[in-house]
């Protein structure tokens, strides 16, 4: 079930340079699962297309969703100016979430791929190791991961905190083992995590990103290359918005 409605802004917080947290009251919360995203629309009529943003936390009782996003353009800059009491048009939840599997899992997030891993870490049963990668010590959501994960491993590009290097370097350094690895982040990171998982025979889910228009699978704007023929067009192009954004790492070409 997808809803399209005016959501009410409950809270806006700056978490790090250019990274913001927005809490929204929306009936989309009722149907949301970890790994899904919502489309957020600009209040500026000249910006037509929604911005797809991953869901960071779901509170079904309160009917709220939290999204944590990076300001990358004028649309997200506008969102960062929203304050409690404002309204913003949303559609969602969209896409398929992460299947909740395994007793010993590793959730991996890089940069703005960190946020969707929080709700996943909360909902996974068993022991969860979180591996989060940042540029430097201007980090976000680390307290939340400390609360919900059995272990939090941090990697920074500049070495200011944790492992000096990528999340994959951190996984190797800690020789992490798991039943399932979940990852969201830039494509090179996903490729590295998928290779790590493949070498050790671990099942791996990745969450993909692409520029979108409709968000519901109709326009075919946001496809990613798949290893098998896709169900829609039978041409090895899966729709990130509809068939994803979560895929088995072996399903897509990274």
């Amino acid at each position: 079930m997808k809803v399209k409605e005016k959501a009410q802004v409950l809270e806006q917080m700056k978490l790090a340079e250019g990274v913001y947290s927005l809490k929204l009251k929306t009936t989309a919360a009722e149907y949301a699962v970890p790994g899904q995203f919502i489309s957020i629309y600009s209040n500026n009529g000249s910006k037509l297309l929604p911005r797809p943003i991953s869901i960071c936390e779901i509170d079904k009782n309160a009917g709220t969703l939290r999204v944590v996003y990076r300001v990358v353009g004028e649309g997200t800059a506008e969102f960062s100016q929203l304050t409690a009491g404002d309204q913003v048009e949303v559609m969602g939840p969209l896409g398929n979430g992460f299947p909740l599997e395994g007793e010993k899992t590793v959730v991996v997030g890089g940069g703005i791929g960190v946020p969707p891993m929080l709700e996943l870490a909360k909902q996974l049963s068993g022991s969860v190791t979180a591996v989060m990668g940042y540029r430097n010590d201007d980090m976000f959501l680390t307290e939340e991961f400390t609360d919900v994960a059995a272990e939090l491993i941090i990697a920074t590009d500049d070495g200011s905190v944790g492992v000096h290097g990528t999340v994959v370097d951190a996984m190797k350094e800690n020789d992490l083992d798991a039943d399932v690895i979940y990852a969201c982040g830039p494509k090179p990171m996903l490729r590295g995590v998928a290779e790590y998982a493949a070498e050790r025979g671990i099942k791996c889910y990745v969450s993909m990103e692409e520029r979108m228009a409709c968000g519901v699978g109709a326009c075919l704007g946001c496809v990613c290359q798949s290893t098998e023929k896709d169900d829609h067009s039978h041409v090895n192009n899966k729709r990130v918005c509809k068939d994803g954004p979560v895929f088995l790492s072996t399903e897509v070409v990274l």
Binding site: K4, L48, R211, A213, G215, G217, H232, S233, H234
Partner: protein
């Protein structure tokens, strides 16, 4: 109140359709829209075999519009008939217009022949105007001789009435409209997207992998109205008007300019119920203006 319009003997319960490529075959939007309430479902372009389309990024936003360079990704006519047409069986009140694409005359004909026996298909829209494929598509749509020839050829094979979809990327669209009429087209539809480009100034590179893309959205609407007006005064076959329609006012404007029916495209992306919202607004307008028959407003602004 009468909202029925007739194009080439095919009756539509109302003049509101969605534009090819923005709505799939209706499946994805059936969650938001009762397809039975639409004048017609116009499908995404269908080729003889599956087409993979262009590399990504395929989408870019521009002020009051967007660029797309999907490249007509589609599953081919066989899968389309077995899956999409079957799905559309359940929506008997809406007509089905199948958009047909090809790289060559032979490919168009192969699709048209395959669709000839499909009773669910009410009309064919022949896409000779896609700016995002290198061969075929727009290559047929920018030369009046080619427009007339492909129209004649398709008409000779088609079992359903044909709509030729025209490109705005020409010097004089009236010439193309007349060529389509001369070739035997039952109707024309316009406009397809306008070729555009967006460059990322920070990365100093093209935003779209295809470099260029088709521009659509409210920004192109005045151009579309002008072109529909010009064509309506140049040919005697019905016109389906499209290009940036996002409100009922846009739709009414297009009909006043001479369109018998209208298609809603890009607006679906930011308002999934745009088609039905427009229909409802159009009906309110008819009541307020005491218009008993929607046909009475077609082309009355001269």
């Amino acid at each position: 109140m009468n909202t029925k319009v007739t194009i080439a003997g095919v009756e539509f319960q109302n003049p509101i359709m969605e534009a090819s490529g923005t709505f799939g075959s209706g499946m994805e939007y059936s969650e938001f829209v009762d397809l039975n309430k639409l004048g017609a479902v116009v499908t995404k372009g269908v080729a003889n075999v599956p087409w993979p389309g262009n590399p990504t990024p395929r989408i870019a936003e521009v002020s009051s519009g967007m660029l797309n360079a999907i490249g007509l990704q589609n599953p081919g006519v066989e899968v389309f008939c077995e899956r999409d047409l079957k799905f559309l069986e359940q929506f008997k009140d809406a007509r089905v217009v199948v958009n047909v694409c090809g790289h060559s005359a032979e490919e168009y004909i192969e699709v048209v022949d395959r669709l000839a026996g499909e009773s669910r298909v009410d009309m064919l829209e022949i896409n000779i105007s896609c700016p995002n494929v290198k061969e075929g598509g727009i290559a047929f749509g920018q030369d009046p001789k080619a427009v007339e020839e492909i129209t004649k050829l398709v008409k000779a094979h088609a079992k359903q009435p044909i709509i030729m979809k025209l490109s705005p990327n020409v010097t004089d669209i009236k010439v193309m409209a007349k060529a389509a009429e001369a070739g035997g087209a039952d109707a024309i539809s316009l406009i397809n997207t306008l070729t555009g480009m967006k460059i990322d100034v920070e990365r100093q590179s093209f935003v779209l992998a295809n470099k260029t893309g088709g521009m659509s959205g409210p920004a192109v609407h005045p151009i579309a109205v002008r072109m529909v007006y010009e064509c309506a005064n140049a040919v005697n076959i019905p016109i389906i008007g499209m290009g940036g329609i996002s409100t009922w006012q846009d739709a009414v404007e297009m009909m006043l300019a001479g369109a018998t029916a209208v298609s809603v495209g890009t607006a679906n992306f930011y308002n999934p119920t745009a088609t039905l919202d427009i229909l409802s607004g159009m009906k309110d307008y008819m009541v307020r203006k005491k218009i008993d028959d929607i046909n009475d407003i077609i082309g009355i602004v001269k």
